[in-house]
Amino acid sequence: MSKENIKTLNRKKSGQSGWSRFINNNNTVGYTFLAPFIIGFFAFTLIPMGTSLFYSFTNFNMIDKMDFVGFQNYIDLFNDERFTNSLWVTVQYVFLSVPLKLAFALLIAFVLTRPSKLVSFYRSLYYLPSLIGGSVAVALVWKQIFARKGLINMNLIAMGLDTVNWFGNGDIAKWPIILMTVWQFGSSMLIFAAGLKEIPGTYYEAAKIDGANGWQMFFRITLPCLSPIILFNLVMQLISSFMVFTQAYVITSGGPNDATMYYALYVYKVGINERRMGYASAMSWVMLIIMGLATFLVFKTSKHWVFDESAES
């Protein structure tokens, strides 16, 4: 068959019209299915990011003022003690909540790998807090539980102990919020559980024959084999912890004395509450840099503690 013939045949196959060739084209199909994400990405991520970068060099107040101020917002940040404080309490929160959450998630995931019929039931049960976790409703419940006359203090009284002023004391106020974060360990747990399943049983059998005990097996086999998953969970939790907002906004409003005035909450307060959108945008970009740095550091150190099986063999 000549080339000409093949072409006409193809045209016949595809219904001959240009439109149907277009609609049956692989690229068209691909982009159509991608469209929801691409539109969302542009409308809700990329364009807002671009405008916020622009605002960060202005004194935009959302109403009538928008003059170019250069790097003034960024310079002002370093003279703002509330900003420094918010950075400090956020870092504190991240360093306390992320390891606790991951340890807890790993523990539960590990316990739930045992062959038992109830495992999937328990797994769903432990995942439940994560489903409802980020919501305002749970934060309100938390606020009630830790209130002056809330569930916890009432039980402390019943046990003959002194009550704890949870949200009135700057040193204590962060703990209920950290606890709430740790309590939502479900998604990390599921990922850990999937990772645990992937570890070949032969490793354990061999270790057992060599006389290794449970602890040795956990630290010599489970942890190294799981380290890529740990890295993934660590990075994801690190990022989401830096953005902590809802709990603090609903439960403490940043108090007492700014002890829970986390970074994102302060951005909100300055940007929406005081309408200093330019300054708040600058703050958001600094946050992006900080989070980027933290993630970069984790990846950099991961070479030394993440075990890559394919590279070894």
């Binding site: 929801p36 994400f37 969302g40 990405f41 809700f44 107040n61 959302m62 109403i63 009538d64 509330r82 606020k143 209130a147 002056r148 002023n165 949870w166 949200f167 009135g168 004391n169 700057g170 106020a173 990922i191 999937a194 990772g195 992937e198 070949p200 890529p228 998953i229 890295l231 993934f232 994801m236 439960i251 403490t252 409003s253 108090g255 007492p256 004395n257 700014d258 307060k269 929406i272 509450n273 005081e274 309408r275 200093r276 959108m277 890559d308 099986e309 394919s310």
Partner: protein, 450 residues
């Protein structure tokens, strides 16, 4: 088995999930839609109905549950009289309202009808002035006075809105607790010293808080400075601070520190438990006094369900100025983003001057400024509202120290307010002395742009 592959799949999954997490429709908006879609009673007054095209107006306000219920009832009444008008409403607490407004301002999508306070000059670019609707008769102002119109206008005479009522600040207290503790009830000439002593005594006798919650900004800045001879917090033309000595701010801060330390005033954690006037510690019986805007006294007393009384805030000296004055509590404005400003103006006129509507509203936003409404409400007043009327009369006759009332706030007020609240929390936590707190705040406020 390759963990890198798993890693990549997981990352992709997270990307997808983060997209779904962006859901712009909040449940409250959905609810509001549902509520507004509820069928309204249609009156078969077919003569005008058919020619009129459907108009949808959006309206928002802040306030307590009591206000929400009353306002919604009036909106539904208005819709039943004007079947072509549909009003979608939203309501918030005070802070939530202004947060939402800020985003709508930036989006050029402010509600057609919206509530405003003394900070209206900040939003001037979003306010459709009512002057032309008053001139063309859409809004009939013959039932009110020039003075009541002026309290909702700027210095150039632009009518920003129609006053919803006049009010003033005061202190609500429980006379039974005062009697129980053997303390004389406050009089209009009581001082801050007497106030502090009462708080401490109440805490000592009853173990409860003496006072529930100050509006620290109103009490510690606006009121206190107004009580010092010849000063005001801002200059009359808002061109800067109206006082020179930061030490004038110290007594209130010191008192706040001392009262919290003594346990006679809630700490920040406890204060944060008060979400609304309905669960104020005075209502729950955990405090003997609280700060209240006079128009909210009725809601407060009804929530408490026992006898409460209203008195002016303490003074610096018994014979000194009271520092408070009668003001417009709030107004309704038409937004310059509105597509139907005339219809919005019509609704506002109805809302403020119609007698049936105001019998429902029951002066909850303050004492009405239309005389016919006032007269119609007179016979219906319950004892709590009567107390408010008497109190506003009392304040109207208190010496203010001259005619130097400035009803309008400069644009930097929110920043000043946030800074004051931040510093007072620091002082209460013991991070700084009252003097340092006052000095730092004064320097901050003085260095703002006016």
């Amino acid at each position: 088995m390759n963990f890198k592959k798993i890693f990549a799949v997981l990352l992709a999954a997270v990307l997808c999930m983060s997209l779904f997490a962006c859901n712009p429709v909040t449940p409250t908006e959905k609810e509001t839609e549902k509520q507004t879609e509820a069928p309204t009673e249609k009156q078969t007054d077919a003569t005008t109905e058919e020619e009129l095209e459907d108009v949808t107006l959006r309206m928002a306000w802040w306030g307590s549950q009591n206000r929400h219920d009353r306002t919604i009832a009036v909106i539904e009444l208005y819709e039943s009289i004007h079947p072509n008008i549909h009003i979608e409403y939203e309501f918030y607490d005070f802070n939530g309202y202004f947060d939402k407004l800020a985003t709508l301002v930036a989006a050029n999508d402010v509600w057609d009808i919206f509530q405003m306070g003394s900070n209206f000059p900040t939003y001037a670019s979003k306010i459709e002035y009512l002057n032309k609707y008053i001139e063309d008769g859409t809004i009939d102002v013959s039932g009110t006075s020039e003075a009541f119109l002026r309290i909702c206008a700027d210095a150039e005479g632009n009518q920003a809105g129609l006053c919803s009522g006049i009010n003033t600040y005061g202190i609500a207290y429980d006379p039974a607790i005062f009697a129980e503790c053997g303390i004389a009830e406050p009089t209009e000439n009581w001082t801050w010293e007497e106030f502090e002593a009462a708080c401490l005594k109440i805490h000592e006798v009853k173990g409860i808080y003496g006072f529930s919650k100050f509006d620290d900004w109103q009490a510690g800045c606006r009121l206190l400075i107004g009580q010092t001879a010849g000063n005001d917090f801002y200059k009359l033309d808002n061109s800067g601070l109206g006082f020179d000595d930061y030490k004038l701010l110290v007594p209130f801060i010191q008192m706040r520190i001392d009262l919290v330390e003594a346990g006679a005033y809630p700490d920040e954690g406890a204060l944060n438990e008060i979400s609304d006037i309905e669960n104020d510690f005075l209502v729950t019986g955990e405090a003997a006094m609280t700060w209240v805007a006079s128009n909210q006294f009725k809601a407060l007393a009804e929530a408490a369900g026992r006898e409460l009384k209203l008195i002016n805030p303490p003074k610096l000296t018994a014979d000194g100025p009271a520092g408070i004055s009668v003001q417009s509590s709030q107004m309704l404005c038409v937004s310059s983003d509105s597509e139907n400003p005339a219809e919005a103006a019509k609704f506002i006129a109805y809302f403020q001057s119609d007698i049936t509507a105001n019998l429902i509203l029951a002066a909850e936003r303050g004492i009405p400024t239309f005389y016919a409404v006032r007269d119609a409400l007179q016979p219906t007043l319950d004892s709590n509202t009567r107390k408010v009327y008497d109190y506003v009369d009392l304040v109207g006759n208190l010496p203010t120290g001259g005619d130097r009332i400035n009803p309008i706030d400069p644009a930097c007020t929110d920043e000043n307010k946030n800074q004051y609240l931040y510093l007072i929390a620091k002082a209460v936590a013991g991070d700084m002395t009252a003097d340092e707190c006052a000095k730092e705040f004064y320097d901050f406020a003085a260095s703002r742009e006016y």
